[in-house]
Point group: C2
Chain length 202, copies 2
């Protein structure tokens, strides 16, 4: 078992091979992790909330749902989910989000920048970073469509496990926006679980 | 008054100057029009449902809401809306959508292709066509997030008027997907209303 920690207000990027599992853990509770993914062999083929909503027929995704790409490929399957509340509606926070929503004009970390700065090392263009699957983010909506960003429901130790349906490039953050994590900035842990090698019973 | 008709299962693209209004009309009722837009001077600055949901704090958009870009600019303001039911969640239908949802493998028109084929004349790259604002599309959701595509509520003559907040390139279709328009394929009308010239009262 090899758990990697994403420090507060930062992000990372890494490859995940087809069949491998990615476990994303909320080690201290009440933290959000923005996740994006790309087809390793075609970086224009990337996570799409619109296509996912089309095929999964649901806005709230959990165990047994797939996350789809803009080119209609299955990218990840949710295998386990101890929290059950995630968001796939809102764009990753960036410098302008903080200016408009928080009236905060100073330079500061953001999920968009933490995704892009890590993903660009793999050749991802800034304009192709898609809407993230916002793990543990709690964005309830009412029948009129009104939404609000509420404290994450994730408790310490809650996790979600995805399985890769293709070779992927993943971007993952520990969220930098006060509203999303109830004004606490905490780390996120993740683990890559290799493909199980079946024992030869012969 | 100069109304232009978009024939069934087709699309168009055109410029809309800052201050001009775009009236999109459902001439026969029960039809959907997928609309995307781009900053005329920066085609990477384009319509974003994620940013719009961030700033408007609502999934269902109507009069007085703005549609925002991925770079956090206001692109369009909704000035009037006689229907009130539109969708901003689902991706434009494309060849793979028809294969997966309709099991229809033959070549056939799609909103994505009708947008892209018209927008590429203006330099838009295929991979930059965003999730559309699906005018008159009726996609109810329940408290569990389950969504379904239902017949449009628009009656003959219903319309929506947008005002451009910047110089824009617009893509607009008459939808090609059975589910979206209750198995009727109808045209869409639109009108560009010029900026009013104020009379000099002196």
């Amino acid at each position: 078992m090899c758990i990697t920690r994403i420090p507060i207000k930062s992000g990372t990027a890494f490859h995940l091979k087809k069949g491998e599992k990615l476990k994303v853990i909320c080690p201290e509770g009440e933290q959000v992790s923005d996740m994006v993914c790309f087809d390793k062999n075609d970086l224009e083929n990337r996570l799409s909330n619109g296509k996912t909503f089309d095929y999964e027929e649901c806005l709230l995704l959990s165990t047994d749902n797939y996350l789809w790409s803009n080119k209609s490929d299955k990218m990840l399957r949710i295998l386990e989910d101890t929290c059950g509340i995630h968001d796939f509606l809102l764009a990753p926070c960036d410098t302008k989000t903080f200016e408009i929503i928080y009236k905060d004009k100073g330079p500061r970390p953001s999920c968009f920048n933490n995704l892009y700065q890590n993903l660009k090392e793999y050749g991802v263009k800034e304009t192709l970073v898609p809407t993230a699957f916002n793990i543990f983010m709690n964005v309830p909506f009412d029948w009129e469509g009104k939404i609000s960003v509420e404290p994450p429901r994730a408790e310490a130790g809650d996790y979600i496990i995805f399985q890769a349906e293709m070779d992927l490039l993943i971007g993952l953050t520990a969220c930098s926006a006060e509203q999303s994590n109830n004004n606490t900035f905490k780390p996120i842990d993740y683990e890559i679980i290799p493909v199980e090698v079946k024992e030869d019973s012969q």
